[in-house]
């Protein structure tokens, strides 16, 4: 598959970009000042990752597209992010649960990608891993505090988990893109990725006194460009400036 590397970089970068944008929506709306800053810190980490990944993706594609072109000038079906990361922020509990499910996947993913035969991917993964370790610590602690907190916070966290669980399976979506890159050594072995995620998730949710939903209904499509209606609204806001004032820089 010719464009496998480009396609994979979009998946990686779009997860960072869209979740980073979602978290940026909290700016000025955090539950307390300290957490407001913490959420925007996470957002900036993710957008920084997206910048590095898109810059490389543009080179791989070889059509002269910059990181800004890739971030701001694609149509919704060209985005490859997980449905999970485009879910609306909801209350703070929903945002934290979404973050936790994602971080618990991203940390072991980057731990594997540092061994990629592709030097750029390995370097980006090494830098991102440091950030992601903190993200996971932050979101895990909040899941535990709120899950094992008051009746109100516990119920909200359980509702968030029930709602988001159907989007978790897509974290481990694989197709010919992954197969091609594994064959060439760009992607290291991902066999234990899911079990490591499950271990983290089970341990934290147990400490948080939350129950994993028994419903196994899965919803996916993001990796193929089939998104929920929420992505359109995100892109409208994200792309407005570049669409209204093409090539604008600031």
């Amino acid at each position: 598959m010719e464009n496998a590397l480009f396609e994979y970089l979009l998946r990686l970068g779009d997860d960072s970009l869209i979740l980073g944008h979602r978290l940026s929506e909290w700016c000025g709306h955090g539950p307390i000042l300290e957490e407001d800053i913490a959420l925007t810190n996470l957002s900036l980490d993710l957008i920084g990752q997206a910048t590095a990944i898109f810059e490389y993706a543009g080179k791989v594609e070889g059509k002269g597209r910059s990181e800004d072109d890739l971030a701001f000038l694609r149509f919704d079906k060209d985005y490859r992010n997980l449905l999970l990361v485009e879910r609306p922020n909801g209350d703070f509990g929903v945002t934290i649960m979404r973050q936790f499910l994602f971080d618990a996947y991203r940390k072991p993913l980057f731990e594997r990608l540092v061994n990629s035969s592709d030097e750029m991917i390995a370097a980006i993964a090494a830098k991102s891993l440091k950030e992601t370790k903190y993200h996971l610590k932050h979101s895990s602690e909040w899941v535990i505090r709120l899950g094992d907190g008051t009746e109100e916070s516990h119920n909200r966290m359980q509702d968030a988990l029930n709602d988001l669980w159907k989007y978790a399976a897509e974290l481990f979506y694989e197709d010919e893109v992954d197969a091609t890159l594994k064959a060439s050594g760009v992607l290291p072995d991902m066999d234990s990725l899911k079990s490591e995620w499950e271990q983290t998730v089970t341990a934290v949710l147990e400490e948080a006194t939350l129950k994993i939903p028994e419903n196994n209904w899965k919803q996916e499509g993001g990796r193929k460009g089939l998104h929920t209606e929420h992505l359109g609204y995100i892109l409208a806001e994200l792309q407005y400036m570049q669409r209204a004032y093409p090539n604008m820089e600031w």
């Binding site: 307390i32 000042l33 300290e34 957490e35 800053i37 913490a38 810190n41 903190y134 610590k137 932050h138 602690e141 505090r145």
Partner: protein
């Protein structure tokens, strides 16, 4: 909604160059672990430090400003307590 507020914490940061932790401000957190995390997010965003201490503000005992006269003014007239009356011999550097 409960109006209970999280306790206040005083934050001390040691910079890369510094030997001692310096007071940089305060923040609210439910416990010491959250206080450390919040301090990391609020006070080290611009590479200000490599070590954080937090102390619950309630545990800080402060001198009484009303006693400033008797506490600090007596020292003002004791200029000889400053080590500035010695001639430094030639050849001594970094004094």
């Amino acid at each position: 909604m409960s109006k209970k507020e999280w306790p206040l914490w005083e934050v001390f940061i040691r910079s890369k160059q510094g030997l001692n932790h310096k007071h940089v401000g305060s923040l609210r957190a439910a416990d010491e672990q959250m206080a450390i995390d919040n301090a990391r997010d609020v006070y080290t965003r611009r590479s200000e430090g490599i070590s954080i201490w937090v102390v619950e503000s309630a545990n800080v005992y402060a001198s009484d400003p009303n006693e400033a006269d008797s506490l600090y003014e007596p020292a003002n007239s004791k200029v000889y307590r400053h080590p500035t009356f010695y001639d430094v011999p030639d050849g001594i550097e970094h004094m």
